[in-house]
Amino acid sequence: MALENNKQEWTKGEMAQNVALDIPDGSYVNLGIGMPEMVADYVPEGREVIYHTENGLLGMGPEPEQGKEDPELINAGKKYVTAITGACYFHHADSFTMIRGKHIDFCVLGAYQVSEQGDLANWTLGKPGAVPAVGGAMDLVAGVKNIFVITRHTTKQGKPKIVRDCQLPLTGKGVVKRIYTDLAILDVTQQGLMVKEMAPGISFEALQNKTDAQLKMP
């Protein structure tokens, strides 16, 4: 959508880049399925970041070339991946030792809703009859040092995803540290949701209008 002054909201690539810029050299990072995976494409020159995938690989590399896919080398989203030089494999209990034991520095996840207290809802819409599936999400939010969320600021129907209180079933309470949307970067603080940065051309008022939670300028 076009914003004021004919400026645009951040593209998906820019959102992913915003996240990538905040991940320091030498970090161990777990990327959720979907938009979070794009973060790996924007690691700034000179930084070495190691990707963990909970199905047993530390040192996940990019997609393989066509024809070089190995059905026994996949990521948590069950996509074909590669392994970098210096990678290693391990079993699931060891993999979640890394997660639950606070060894992973950053996890980037998608969200259905995030609350101003950092509550996250991202595993089920809770519709009756639908098959619930949680995967590793609850372990990740409970164990990774920094939980970053990357998400559109509103749903396709224009409803706010950054809310006062999550209506959807929670993945974890008070777990999100920072939110990267197409409109802003928001920090979850004890004082509430602080606007760290806004997409070029958007005003605080316009941002607040698209947000159910109360925003604050630092």
Binding site: E54, D70, P71, L73, I74, H91, V131, A142
Partner: protein, 238 residues
């Protein structure tokens, strides 16, 4: 003399009983012991409780076992994937039970079962709907839930190489739940891509020590699940 190799798939799965608890290795297709699962379908045991991360895809492997109405209950973390239709349909109709467990909790419960740990505390699922019915306890100011070890009657595991003692190595991310499931069952049944001579596996690089393995069957060229699904195969074949 110790020789855990058995001559056939049917021999390997012969004593699974109605009502058995069966763990199946694999994360999606990777590491799924598809030949053992098909042998289990042929063997006929039903009312099974199956512990596996997913619920199978298409109409082969675990999905086929479920489709044959052999599974009373699934214990898993992620019961749907791109090509899974069998489980969701039965589940929506209330024809199969589901115990949904966060993936790390599932892994730790299996490890605990194998390690003689009856129960442990974990932070995963606290303050979520999956905390329901669990005992909560605070340690150092943080909340945790009590989770119980899982033990199985059988574990079916796929690996890359095995020797007659049952020492195993795996391939890449097909390792996943295999090593911990080997520890948690009364009978661990393994399908290996190759049998190797004793001494061929580096003692420093053995992933599953033979003590955790009861039977091995050699399947040199296991089926490729995604290919079967793409070609719309169903087990038994037609």
């Amino acid at each position: 003399m110790i020789n855990k190799l058995v001559p056939s798939l049917s021999e390997a799965v012969k004593d699974v009983k109605d009502g058995s608890v069966v763990m199946l290795s694999g994360f999606g297709q990777a590491g799924s012991p598809i030949e053992l699962i098909h042998a289990l379908i042929d063997q006929g045991a039903s009312d099974l409780t199956v512990v596996s991360n997913n619920t199978g895809s298409g109409h082969v492997g675990l999905a086929s076992l479920i489709e044959h109405r052999r599974v009373k209950k699934m214990i898993c973390s992620f019961p749907r994937t791109t090509h899974s239709t069998v489980f969701p349909e039965l589940y929506s109709n209330g024809e199969i039970e589901l115990e949904l467990v966060p993936q790390g909790t599932l892994a730790e419960r299996i490890r605990a079962g194998g390690a003689g740990i009856p129960a442990f505390y974990t932070p995963a699922s606290v303050d979520t709907p999956l905390e329901e019915g669990k005992e909560r306890r605070t340690f150092n100011g943080r909340s945790y839930v009590l989770e119980y070890g899982i033990e199985a009657d059988f574990s079916f595991v796929k690996c890359e190489g095995a020797d007659r003692y049952g020492n195993l190595v795996y391939n890449k991310t097909a390792r996943n739940f295999g090593p911990i499931m080997c520890t948690a069952a009364e009978n661990t049944v393994v399908q290996t891509k190759k049998m190797v001579d004793l001494g061929d596996l580096d003692p420093e690089a053995v992933v599953t020590p033979g003590i955790f393995v009861n039977r091995i069957v050699e399947i040199n060229q296991p089926l490729d699940e995604s290919q079967l699904i793409a070609e719309n195969w169903r087990y038994p074949w037609h």
